[in-house]
């Protein structure tokens, strides 16, 4: 028996084991396997989100036509019937950073004034037609999320981590805890009213609060969450979903752009 057959057999054995799990556990897998050949059933949903930079082809394929259609439909409904319909909650809102002068003292940084501009370089000179627009350097060199060593379905490791922390009297800290604490002091009654009546979450506080609640409610999330450097927006901009099969036939000349990404379990 060759290695691939052996691997397939092992994975099928895992499949039989997983089928005995409560319903709901396999929802994602069922969806995944419907479109695939039954011989290629693969059940472990670990580290599946291999992604790579979009090439021009995939970029073209992934134009979110349906989303724009939905938006236009909504606007038509609003204009046509003039009904007051609540919009969707904007979960993707990312607040801008405060202006740096607000957080930096006057002596700490450089100020640009009309007097000290000596040279305005022409934009046309600087952008080459053939520029690939892909160059990056540190910090945040080709950013991607770091997976957690404990996998979502590694129940043994999760329980062991819970017990260890219980004995030590510790618990994982929500990775955006400081951000949450700061926003908590900034949020006003007006923001609560806007959120509960109009679903407006200007500062992203309510979304963050939801994530934090999930983190502290479910140890499985707390102990398995990845280090999410990419927010949803930037992730979508930089990377595209990629099947394992695509990964296997990947052009290694562009290998440097392959990144291992993990899904954010609470999103």
């Amino acid at each position: 028996m060759d290695v691939d057959e052996r691997l397939q057999q092992d994975e099928n054995q895992t499949h039989l084991f997983l089928q005995r799990k409560p319903s709901g556990f396999l929802i994602k897998e069922k969806v995944t396997t419907i479109s695939k050949d039954s011989d290629n059933i693969r059940l472990r949903d670990l580290n599946f989100n291999h992604r790579k930079k979009k090439d021009e082809k995939t970029r073209a394929e992934q134009v979110p036509i349906q989303i724009s259609f939905k938006k236009s439909k909504k606007s038509e409904l609003r204009n046509g019937s003039e009904s007051i319909e609540l919009s969707d909650i904007n979960l993707d809102y990312i607040p801008d950073s405060p202006p740096i002068e607000n957080i930096s003292g006057p002596g700490n940084s450089t100020v640009v004034t009309p007097k000290n501009i000596i040279h305005l370089q022409s934009d046309a000179d600087l952008i080459l037609k053939e520029c690939d627009h892909n160059y990056d350097c540190g910090p945040f060199y080709r950013l991607y999320n770091y997976e957690n060593r404990i996998e979502i379905d590694d129940y043994e490791a999760i329980i062991k981590a819970i017990l260890t922390d219980e004995i030590a009297g510790t618990y994982p800290v929500f990775e955006r805890e400081l951000e949450y604490q700061e926003l908590k002091t900034l949020v006003r009654k007006r923001d609560y009213i806007l959120y509960y009546l109009l679903s407006k979450d200007h500062m992203g506080f309510f979304r963050l609060r939801e994530e934090r609640t999930l983190f502290y409610t479910y140890p499985s999330i707390a102990y398995t969450s990845p280090l999410g450097y990419l927010d949803d927006g930037s992730e979508n901009e930089l990377f595209a979903e990629e099947d394992d099969e695509v990964l296997q036939s990947f052009d290694f000349e562009n290998m440097s752009s392959v990144r291992t990404l993990d899904s954010n379990v609470w999103r």
């Binding site: 930096s104 700490n108 000596i118 350097c137 102990y223």
Partner: protein, 388 residues
Amino acid sequence: MNRTLTDNTRAINVAASLGDPQQRTIFAKERISIPGYYEIIQFLGKGAYGTVCSVKFKGQNPPAKIAVKKISNIFNKEILLKRAIRELKFMNFFKGHKNIVNLIDLEIVTSSPYDGLYCYQELIDYDLAKVIHSSVQLSEFHIKYFLYQILCGLKYIHSADVIHRDLKPGNILCTLNGCLKICDFGLARGIHAGFFQCHSTIQPHITNYVATRWYRAPELLLSNQPYNKSVDIWAVGCILAEFYARKPVFMGRDSMHQIFEIIKVLGTPDKDLLIKFGTIKAWNLGKSSNNPVYKKIPWSNIFPFASHEAIDLIESLLHWDSTHRLNVEQAISHPFLNEVRKPDDEPVCLQGPFDFTYEFELNSMPKLRDYLIEEVNSFKTELTSSSL
């Protein structure tokens, strides 16, 4: 186009000797403002959380090309602020080693719309992944020279009791003259035991986050126990094998598949080692009822064209048991690298171990922002004093 910064020291000295910039050069379209003694060459692209362009010193001949990354919109995000601080601290700490990417200058500009953190560093076009996976012929001498440089950089990092944790060809930059530089300290971590003892509140373990799967050591895949510098050594072993294979040697689709990819080459690990890993996942691998026992395939069968020394070094780096792997100094001393060794290129970090305890004092967002600004200011102060 030669974009290599061949003499980084020269660039640093020029920047420092020009003092505090009073006049500015503006690139309006990309909202970039840089000191007047720089001239913008080209807009290079939009990287993660920033815009990158190449610049050079006015009138400098030959020009030392520098990449400038303007980072904005990170000051409200805790994990990005923490990462920016950590990366800048590491780059500053390791500044000067020729096999680690160097920061030339740092600056915070406050005037809108140019506001942001500006990082000036060597402009290097290629990474090792592009080189390995290109059609360029690599002789064994090239491989020796490349590996030696990686190990020199890693020796410097490890001597400061820091683990990089994300070594892979994509994170090793390559200049046109073949000089390699380790970059991306996004997951690097100080592990000096003394700092754990000084702060009783700090847990004596490191985070559970792990990097690119194909270069991930077996103990990270199979165990939940603390790990050490040998995870970087495994990654170096993978890179060495990749030089010969011209593709990654263990390409797992997920972590279990990754383990099987390793097993197919290195054979099923000993039961004693599986017990040592201490997880059911590891234990199940050793149960013959579930899995066949694979025999080790000699690396000489996989790479029959490689020298005996190369095969021996791969064997010594890619070992199931982390305690049996060579450490970085032993790897540098391996006969495979005798031909390319230069003792002067193998310094250790004289600043001693990297102190990571600052992280535990940054317990609010204002403190994080202030610390980033302090870090930039201290960098500039150091730059000015070193030029005098």
